[in-house]
């Protein structure tokens, strides 16, 4: 069974009261694979991650997943902890002592470009640094599956590009099974092995695109641009439809749009 380190969703339905967040979603992520979930606001992307992380049960269908670590939409760093202690939070929860957690978190600080900021509080860190601390915290949870919920959604366009490149490198060094939720089609194509396109609520899988491109990828590679445009067409970005209006500006401009429309998404 692949669910040791992979993820399997089979005909999953999930709703909150009258709101149907997901309908009949089936998805397979092989161990070590990076899969991006792209869709408009409120299409149940975050709900899907919650199910994978065991924060809820589906109304019907099955979810099988290896132990997963969540990186929430906003970084959810604790403002009273230093960067070092925030990064080591998962270790502390797992029962590691304060000093040992600090030592283990600090081993990664140079590679994460956080050296010199060990004792800085989140308020003193830049947006990009905060995301790196949050990602390190997620990595140090030591789970085979990472669920990244719009990791760069709140960053400005330039920082976002740098962080996408950085994340690609970090995942090349520390391969994991990754479910990456994003608004940004380009981000999906740059980072993922496969891009899963979801419909507006209730979220269904509309199409899956294989990104069979060598890494590292550049955003102006012809193949990247081609795939990006294809995904946008599938999502209806060229139509004057509701979906197109919603998705296109966020995806193209890299605007800090967020998924706040639906409860739990």
């Amino acid at each position: 069974m692949q669910s040791e380190a992979g993820v399997e969703l089979d005909a999953v339905d999930k709703g909150y009261g009258a709101v149907q967040a997901l309908r009949g979603v089936s998805l397979r992520v092989a161990p070590g694979e990076i899969v991006a979930l792209v869709g408009p606001s409120g299409c149940g992307k975050s709900t899907l991650l919650e199910l994978v992380c065991g924060l809820g049960a589906p109304d019907s269908g099955t979810v099988r997943a290896g132990a997963a670590a969540l990186m929430p939409q906003r970084d959810a760093l604790l403002p009273w902890l230093t960067a070092l202690d925030n990064a080591g939070l998962a270790l502390r929860v797992a029962g590691v002592g304060r000093a040992a957690a600090r030592v283990r978190a600090h081993e990664h600080f140079a590679a994460f470009g956080l050296e010199g900021f060990e004792h800085a509080r989140p308020a003193a860190l830049s947006g990009g640094m905060r995301q790196r601390v949050a990602f390190l915290r997620t990595l140090l949870a030591g789970r085979p599956v990472l669920c990244l919920d719009e990791p760069f959604g709140a960053l400005d366009a330039l920082t976002r590009l740098q962080m996408q490149r950085w994340l690609a490198g970090a995942l090349a060094r520390e391969p994991r099974t990754v479910l990456l939720v994003t608004h940004d089609v380009e981000e999906a194509v740059l980072l993922a092995d496969r891009v899963v396109l979801l419909s507006p609520r209730p979220g269904r899988v509309v199409e899956t695109l294989d990104v069979l491109l060598p890494r590292p990828r550049e955003r102006d590679d012809v193949a990247v641009v081609e795939l990006r445009e294809r995904a946008l067409r599938v999502l209806g970005a060229d139509d004057a439809g509701a979906l197109g209006r919603e998705l296109a500006p966020a995806a193209r401009a890299g605007a800090p749009a967020r998924d706040e429309a639906a409860p739990g998404s």
Partner: protein, 248 residues
Amino acid sequence: MIAALVLIALVGGWEALVRLGGVDPLLLPAPTQVLEALWEDRSLLAPDLWTTTYEVVLGLAAATAAGAALGVAMHLSPALRRALRPLVIGSQAVPVPVIAPLVILVLGFGLAPKVLLVALVCFFPITINLYDGLRAADPDARRLLRSLQASRWQSLRLVEAPAALPSAFTGLKVAAAVAVIGAVFAEWAGAERGLGRVLITANGQLATARAFAATLLLFLLAIALYGACALLERRVVDWIPRTEPGGP
């Protein structure tokens, strides 16, 4: 700086009103007369100030302990929350002057009834502010802890309790400011010492200046307690940037 100017203006106006306006000093003594009484009766007032301070500090400590326990209990258990909330709120409707004699009757003239009454006045702001602070902890951070399979206790210790500290300190500062009222009512109901008792006897003897001197000491005591709590807050809650150019 501004506070000092306002104070000087107020006190100066008061002095002028009494001196020039011909107000009977038995009704309203001038500030200089109050200070004179304070100086003359200093050896008399010092032990009373000490007694009241002792009662207030102990009562505040008891209220903090009880309020913290109640706030956390109400946060953790919906059943306890439903059971205790009306009592906690209702406790604030109890008129302290009415129950003070009852408490004295049961617990005697010693320290215990004073501490109890101070705690009764103080525990409400502490409990409610702590409880609200615990509930207001970042839901994303709580979800994160749940995804890490943190225990209820870990979530409380690592996320909710630190997140509640700023709000809890607000409650503590409110409590510190009103604590002296509890002590004064308790002493009125029966005490051998304390600034509340000074007030009663001074009023009986028409020693208005001395009564005002005792009130001035209560005023300063409340400010000192508040200041101590604010100082503690700055040391403990050191992650919130404060914008206070020029100091308090």
